[in-house]
């Protein structure tokens, strides 16, 4: 069956009033968590997970993925109107979005942000539509060593490409792996790392960690910074929308470049945050209006937004085909898939044909729905941010606590959430990344299984990871990525010896 037929079939599946209603709810909830401080796409999805257990997987993934799109859109509202990034990935949007709002061009900035975001997202979905079956078919030939090598590549890329210190990334990641190991061993059935505490038998859920690290940790940071919401007002009229749309074609090259950057960073575990920063700095470097960047340049809004959304959607490509999420939110969704009893990876495309194509079709529709909903509801969500912090904060904390409790109906999870909250605060302040921890907590068991299977094949020799050209090149690429900071430094010194002028380091990578 061709991709197009499958897509039509998926469209057929999701074009029901119930599913479209779920989309709108998901988008609204997503914008809400994107706008509110302390809540973001990863923990929004984690909070919603327990509520989806009674739904069919297709409905559940529509709700969760639309929440993700909504959160990506919602993050731009706060960036532009309040100069507060609701999501880490929309930090780059504040650079030019907020100055535009100060000049009274908020509606123009918002329209440009949302529209370019939609273009980026649709490009990501197109990529997903036409590449995913091919990658999945290719990955069908993978066995355990190949899978472990792919996991290794993902984790090493995180370490090597992160803007956080590599050793701190390793620490965060290993804590995630350790968390995943707590509880029943999937191979032998033994209880591990529980130290005879019955409370640890079910393991430490990644949802609880996400809610604590992102939610409570973020609230504590917000309080410490003494955040004051003083935003600009915006009313989006059809006239402004049309006028802004008329301007967009002028920036086609920026959009294309940002889309490429976004898709690449989304597929590799660079994630939307790195994508938006990189796209912004590229746009500034190549723009004719370079001097106007940071003072309210439309191009400076379009570039990060396009890349952000392109990365957000294409992050689902490795998640669906290989079982490796490209962003923290995709990691949480992957965890959800496993809880629903699905096995992310190449077999998903064969066994769960309806699910996969329902999801892909819903991504086309969901992003269009997002654009309409977000354009219509900007004033509403902007007014939510004007509610005083002393009302919003306790409600957010309550929602987090209930969310953590409802994972296993256990109060111990709420205590864990609090612990993770404190850890999240320290992590943020000291430059430890949180996303690798989440990724490792979700993938830990699968990575371990793949590793142990490989060791069984080879009788404990690591040579199996170089036993054929495919697995060998994957493993070698992983090691290259791992030592990339050292390699690039060495290269820079070599270049520096040849050319005396100092190479300005990229701010993002």
């Amino acid at each position: 069956m061709s991709e197009f037929d499958s897509l039509l079939q998926g469209m057929n599946l999701i074009l029901t009033p119930g599913h479209i209603g779920l989309m709108v709810i998901g988008v609204l909830l997503g914008i809400l968590v994107g706008v509110l401080p302390g809540l973001g796409a990863p923990n929004g999805v984690a909070l919603l997970l327990p509520l989806t257990f009674t739904m069919s997987p297709v409905s559940a993934i529509i709700l969760l993925s639309c929440m993700y799109w909504g959160a990506l859109f919602g993050g731009s509202i706060t960036s532009i109107l309040f100069n507060i990034p609701g999501e880490p990935s929309s930090v780059a949007t504040t650079f030019d979005g907020y100055p535009m709002a100060r000049e009274g061009r908020a509606a123009e900035a918002l329209t440009a942000a949302f529209s370019s975001a939609l273009i980026g997202a649709l490009a990501g979905v197109l990529l997903l539509t036409f590449l995913s079956t091919k990658i999945a078919a290719f990955a069908m030939s993978f066995s355990s060593p190949e899978f472990f090598a792919v996991y290794l590549l993902a984790f090493c890329t995180f370490i090597g490409m992160s803007k956080n210190p590599p050793l701190k990334t390793v620490v965060a990641m290993m804590i995630g792996f350790a968390m995943a190991a707590v509880g029943m061993d999937t191979v032998s059935g033994n209880l591990r790392l529980t130290f005879d505490q019955p409370i640890l038998m079910t393991g430490i859920s990644f949802e609880v960690a996400v809610i604590g690290l992102f939610g409570i940790g973020e609230i504590l940071c917000t309080v410490e910074e003494g955040l004051v919401f003083r935003g600009e007002h915006a009313r989006i009229t059809p006239m402004v929308i049309l006028r802004t749309w008329a301007k967009l074609p002028r920036y086609w090259w920026t959009i294309v470049r940002s889309t490429l950057v976004g898709c690449w960073m989304g597929i590799t575990p660079g994630g939307p945050t790195a994508a938006s920063f990189m796209s912004y700095s590229l746009a500034r470097r190549f723009s004719k209006n370079r001097d106007n960047f940071g003072k309210g340049e439309l191009e400076g809004v379009i570039a990060p937004e396009t890349a952000d959304h392109a990365a957000g959607t294409s992050a689902l490509l490795p998640m669906l085909t290989l079982g490796i999420p490209g962003s923290a939110t995709a990691a949480v969704m992957l965890g959800g898939l496993m809880i629903w009893g699905l096995h992310p990876g190449p077999t998903l495309f064969v066994e769960q044909h309806d699910f996969v194509w329902g999801l892909i079709a819903s991504m086309y529709l969901g992003n269009v729905v997002s654009l309409i909903v977000v354009l219509a509801t900007v004033p509403l969500f902007a007014s939510i941010l004007r509610i005083p912090f002393s009302i919003i904060a306790p409600i957010i904390i309550m929602v987090c606590a209930i969310g953590a409790y409802s994972v296993h109906n256990s109060f111990f999870d709420v205590v864990l959430m609090l612990g993770f909250g404190a850890l999240g605060y320290l992590f943020k302040k000291l430059g430890y990344p949180i996303a690798p921890l989440v990724l490792a907590a979700v993938l830990g068991d699968k990575a371990e299984d793949a590793f142990r299977q490989s060791m069984l094949f080879s009788d404990g020799h690591l040579g199996i990871f170089w036993s054929n050209p495919l697995v060998g090149s994957l493993t070698t690429a992983a090691l290259l990525m791992l030592f990339w900071p050292l390699i690039s430094k060495a290269l820079q010194t070599l270049m520096g010896l040849r050319k005396p002028q100092v190479v300005k380091p990229k701010s993002v990578l």
């Binding site: 327990p50 620490v171 790392l193």
Partner: protein, 177 residues
């Protein structure tokens, strides 16, 4: 909620950095210890359960120690304040109530604890020119709790522990019928 940034520093960043590396190193040690208990070698059925986690613990401890060494190397540069006293007071003024809220949840049930938590948080906010009225506090806290009951317990069938209060209401309801 603004604070003066020039208030005295509570603790240097270096001490917090060092403390966290010690903490993560200890987690690594605990993980290794737990793995050794399970056996980290090669059993009849291939790798034993502790085989993989042991190396995770080892890498965690090693990376933590390396982070600690890096902190010591940059000891002078890291003398900057981690957090000012007044900012930390703000953080504690939120963290301690959350801790109390979490501690109260098993005793009073989720609903009562949440309502009290929200009400206290609003009542305590003296930064505002005009404090919230009693009616406002009551409406917001009870409204939020009612909404969470409707959404979680009623619509999505995720039961939330209502504590003794829930038992009383259930009992009263049964007697009423």
């Amino acid at each position: 909620m603004s604070h003066s940034s020039d208030s005295p520093a509570l603790v240097g960043t270096r001490w917090v950095e060092l403390g966290l590396t010690v903490f993560t190193a200890l987690i690594g040690v605990v993980v290794m210890y737990g793995s050794v208990e399970q056996g980290i070698g090669w059993g009849d059925a291939g790798p034993e359960p502790g085989y993989f986690p042991f190396y995770i613990g080892l890498m965690l401890s090693a990376a933590s120690v390396a982070n600690g060494v890096l902190t010591l190397v940059r000891w002078q540069a890291l003398s900057i304040a981690f957090v000012s006293r007044s900012a930390f007071r703000q953080v504690l003024s939120v963290f301690i109530p959350i801790a109390l809220f979490v501690a109260a949840m098993p005793l009073t049930g989720i609903y009562v604890a949440s309502a009290c938590f929200i009400a206290w948080f609003m009542w305590r906010d003296k930064v505002r020119a005009k404090p919230y009225g009693k009616l406002m506090i009551g409406t917001v806290s009870l409204g939020a709790v009612l909404a969470s009951y409707l959404i979680f317990a009623l619509w999505f069938k995720v039961p939330l522990d209502a504590g003794p209060m829930g038992d009383w209401i259930a009992l009263a309801g049964r007697n009423f019928k």
